[in-house]
């Protein structure tokens, strides 16, 4: 049953071990429609591992993931994507030698719809048109959309990665450090994109960040991970930055 009160994402007892190293241990939480949840924690707390387990990039050792109340076992990232989960990974996951269009459509290239598509022929012109239209709406400038990604600055690449997450209209967006290594202006445009996305099409979002100000400015709820365990679940309006920080570092 899917109703408006069914959480868009529910994670139960999610656990990931690498040999004897415990990256995640019994993490459970629900994500409701319309929420932007910040995922916070020190380095090695398990934030990226959690996102990767939900997005099909890693197979959890134990635990379950439910999407709209339905149990999901993603065996590779394409399955999670097809189910409506878009992920912007921390290492950006862009192909340096490809241009913006090819990166936007990576793994989901458009083929011709007519006879030309019989051989898997790519509709490059169509992809380019759609990519340029999508990027025209983003408050960021690119020197040359047809140049390889490796010619772009870190900020521009980040915007391309974010644009890809937005472009596919996923229902659940997972953003791993979307503002890391960005300047003030670039961070602002990424944060604006996050706000616009939740207002327009995404149903929920998880945002990982080290930057408390950024998290505070866009998130409604804050989950705190420490050494692989979920140690706190704050509603932003009912807590303070000081309380969140002490929860992250484990001070009482």
């Amino acid at each position: 049953m899917t109703t408006d009160t069914t959480p868009i994402l529910e994670v139960r007892g999610l656990t990931k071990h690498y040999g004897s190293v415990v990256a995640l241990e019994g993490v459970s939480f629900k994500l409701n429609r319309g929420e932007i949840v910040g995922l916070l924690g020190d380095n090695g707390a398990g934030k990226s591992t959690l996102v990767k387990c939900v997005s099909g990039a890693l197979e959890p050792t134990a635990g379950e993931v439910y999407l709209n109340g339905e149990r999901k076992d993603f065996s590779y990232p394409g399955e999670a994507r097809d189910a409506g989960i878009e992920t912007v990974h921390q290492q950006l996951a862009l192909v340096d030698t490809f241009d913006v269009t090819d990166n936007l459509f990576l793994g989901r290239e458009m083929k011709y719809e007519d006879w030309r598509g019989w051989f898997g022929t790519l509709n490059h012109r169509g992809m380019r048109k759609r990519a340029h239209a999508a990027l025209a709406q983003i408050p960021a400038t690119f020197p040359d959309l047809d140049a390889a990604i490796q010619t772009m600055s870190g900020g521009q690449r980040q915007v391309v990665a974010m644009a890809r997450g937005a472009f596919w209209e996923g229902r659940l967006l997972l953003l791993d450090e979307p503002t890391a290594a960005l300047g003030i202006r670039e961070s602002e445009s990424v944060l604006d994109m996050i706000r616009a996305l939740i207002a327009e099409r995404a149903e929920a979002m998880i945002v990982i960040s080290h930057n408390m100000e950024h998290v505070w400015s866009v998130c409604d709820r804050l989950l705190i991970l420490r050494r692989g365990q979920l140690v706190a679940d704050f509603v932003k309006d009912e807590t303070s930055k000081a309380e969140v920080v002490s929860s992250i570092v484990g001070a009482h």
Partner: protein
């Protein structure tokens, strides 16, 4: 921007080829005759077919050094069936099955078990040569009635008879050119080679795409084996010896890199023709074949350094 770079890598290679053709035409009266140029292309065809298949593998960050031994194995299976009273059709099927079995082994070891492709195919390079000897009992085998593929000619228009191996090379080239440049599969192979992790996260099925590249190469190995044995009308355990490195020289000379993500069908074909012209031209000028090998090596080194300088300059200039 682009102002400092005058040539693309492929243009530079076409230029080198043109310069060589002009040089040899001036120095040798025999070089620029249709008979000799046809010979050059025939000599390039078997190496070219293998090199094109290897280009796709190198783009995907894989390599196969066993194609020469696999060719010998495939040819040996053909010869044994053909001379043992089997039909030519069965013999061709046997050659195909042998080459695809090698691909299947490579796929299991490299894609499933994740052993490095250099190591796996090095084992094939050594081991399959032995298998070919076992199949042939160490002897050379002759057969008749299978001349067309290696020695036949197809009249095109009323003036030129194009050798069948050259037509085969052209068909393989056209197929790979289209596959690599215009299809989703080709795009995925370039993505996998340039950034395997990004490709995986983007939902590309690396295992499937790389496996297809290995099986396609298997088909080409069988084709190359059939052309080789048909050209000679015989096969022996030493058939195709050293051809893997000549083909790989062609791939790298054509712009392929062991780092993956680069290389094109056009570049490889131009490079293989450069190597064939070099061979032929130097022999016509009476240069010793020892020097031919030295020249090949020098050319390869020169091309790699040219590309590396171009790449570094590109990065420094923010290209």
């Amino acid at each position: 921007m682009l102002t400092n770079i005058r040539f693309t890598a492929t243009q530079a290679r076409v230029g080198v080829l043109a310069a060589m053709v002009i040089f040899f035409s001036i120095r040798s009266p025999v070089f620029f005759t249709s008979r000799n140029l046809t010979n050059v292309l025939i000599n390039a065809s078997v190496v070219g077919i293998l090199a094109i298949g290897l280009t796709l593998l190198l783009v995907a960050q894989q390599v196969d050094v066993s194609v020469g031994s696999a060719l010998a194995f495939s040819g040996a299976v053909f010869a044994v069936i053909a001379t043992d009273g089997g039909s030519l059709f069965l013999a061709v099927l046997g050659a195909l099955a042998a080459a695809l079995a090698v691909s299947a082994l490579n796929v299991v070891a490299i894609v499933r078990l994740r052993v490095n492709s250099v190591i796996v195919t090095l084992a094939g390079f050594v081991g399959l040569r032995g298998v070919a000897k076992l199949v042939l009992n160490g002897r050379s085998v002759q057969f008749e009635g299978f001349e067309w593929l290696g020695r036949g000619r197809v009249p095109i228009g009323s003036f030129i008879d194009v050798p069948v191996p050259v037509i085969a090379l052209f068909i393989v080239f056209a197929f790979y050119f289209f596959l690599m440049k215009y299809t989703r599969f080709g795009k995925h192979i370039y993505a996998i080679g340039a950034n395997p992790e990004a490709s995986r996260l983007a939902g590309i099925r690396l295992e499937r795409e790389v496996s297809i590249a290995f099986f396609l190469l298997g088909l080409l190995v069988a084709l190359a084996a059939l052309i080789s044995v048909s050209q000679i009308g015989a096969t022996s355990p030493t058939t195709g010896m050293g051809i893997e490195f000549l083909a790989l020289t062609g791939v790298v000379l054509g712009g392929g890199s062991l780092r993956g993500g680069s290389g094109t069908a056009v570049g490889t074909v131009v490079a293989v023709v450069i190597l064939a012209v070099l061979d032929n031209g130097l022999v016509l000028l009476g240069v010793s074949s020892f020097w031919v090998e030295v020249a090949r090596g020098a050319l390869l080194l020169g091309a790699v350094i040219f590309d590396e300088l171009g790449r570094e300059r590109g990065i420094r200039m923010g290209l």
